[in-house]
Amino acid sequence: MALTTIGSASEATVRARVERAITGRRSDAGGRVFETALIACLLLSLAVLGLLVYQVLGNGLTVFGDRGADFLDTGLASSPARAGVAQGIIGSFWIAMSVVVLALPLGIGAAIYLEEYAPLNRLTSFIALNIRNLAGVPSIVYGLLGLAIFVEALNGFSGNEGVNRRTLAAAGVTIAVLVLPVVIITTQEAIRAVPVALREGAYGVGATKWEVIRSQVLPYAAPGILTGALLSIARAVGEAAPLIVVGAATGLLGRSPGLSAGSLIDIENLTSRFTALPTIVSTWSKLPDEEFRVNLSAATIITMLVFVLFLNSIAIVLRNRFEKKRSA
């Protein structure tokens, strides 16, 4: 309107009219309410997290203050003054390792097969559907599977009898199976996100299928695959329920070997009874003794958090390296 009347209106009038029209802002009340709600969500979840961390640190750091590394170096004991998590660290370390050694190669391999090689037929989609379902199965069910097969039928991958069949190896394999579907699904998603143009470019210069997968698909999908690996390791270290079913020790567990590089990587661990950090938390937090229930549990949680953060940081560094390569 304003512009069509330029002829009759003075230049200054037009300018003022246009300025009025294009400055100022249409009220965006809905948007502002939404934004505020989102910020509230963020703050609320951060507040809960902050409260948890504050509590845990408050209760747990006293243990480290009083006993220092001794807490990490001693084993399960009935007196809170002597109890430590050395055996839990060893158990959780091996469980994480079994995920790295078993679940990651198997899962990534299965996903590559499903995405790149498997024929598009009913069997393949049936399998893919079931992998998705498996990812939603409660972890305690995997614990029962581990108890029935890896402990009872396979003697915990050892020649042991009776209760000694509840080995760390059985627990590790159980947890590896537990996270396998997650590894497969995240890897599949990462592979699907590789642009078709990239594949065509490689095929176009005469690459074979394997060469395309190796030189284009996997490097491009690597950050996504590593994210899946990271999630699955974190989950493996945090799971308590299936380990309790498989038979993690909760009260006492022989004499602690202490925590050292030697005791950590000792392969004998695999065929012995075990415990892990989350099962220790679960046990101690139920004890009547307040020192166990409050302080030692919190200290174990801190240990577990540091442990998971350490593993994750490795994966994050690797992921960033691949991501940088991809977009540089």
Binding site: L120, P195, A197, L198, R199, E200, G201, A202, Y203, G204, V205, G206, A207, T208, E211, S215, Q216, P219, Y220, K325, R326, S327, A328
Partner: protein, 301 residues
Amino acid sequence: MTEPTATPTAGRTIAPRTTAPAPEPLAAPSAAPGPVDAAALPVVFEVRDLSVYYGTFRAVREVTLDIRQHEITAFIGPSGCGKTTVLRCFDRMNDLIPGARPEGTLNYHGVPLYGPKVDPVEVRRRIGMVFQKPNPFPKSIFDNVAYGPRLFGTRKKAQLDTVVEESLTKAALWDEVKDRLKESAMGLSGGQQQRLCIARAVATKPEVLLMDEPCSALDPIATARIEDLMQEIKTEFTIVIVTHNMQQAARVSDATAFYSTDVNPESDRRTGVLVEFDRTETIFSNPSDERTENYITGRFG
């Protein structure tokens, strides 16, 4: 049309190919219908009654034409007329699409391209492809060009250096990137990326270069550079180019195939057909089919 930097300079004259394993000339091409005045040039692709199906859907039917050596053949026509589908048969790129299936005769130097023992990987090594959207790999400029030669066993740095320089020179990109070969190819402009893709395609010393609308994502200056480039390298390669741009076809090509679509009145599905194939000047000055004339004069499509 030609901006100053696009003219060849002394720095990037094209060296004659000496090291390339020239494809052995196979049996003399059979006498084929088609453009008469080019009959002296050997036939690279002999296409007879070629139809391509996607599942049960016939995307294009009964294409018959000859692609001749060291010529630029243009495929023009409206969207959905099957130009790209036919082009992607020439390097068996359609194999990547589940359900895609050609029928009819498609011979490469007399050898059936879809013969049972033919390895598509070997085919693609001899028949390079440049895609519609520049698709450099997320690697360095050097690694992009060296990708093909490395696949085929060239490992020595000196040899790779030579191939990379040769290929980038052919693609008229060498002068612009010679000081930053180690930098990521993703940092190049769209036109540079497309020329990099051409360099990548010629690095394996193919006989044929298939170009699927190589300039559709580029500005006129970058387009002019690539058109000049095509003229320069056609002494070495046989080029087939799909283009939406009729002026481009008229400017660069020796022979032109005009495709159109037939609508099936019952199923309402469109099938691509080859309307006319002839020398480019004939297609644009004196087409024999009315549909061609309508298309090139802008009355349809």
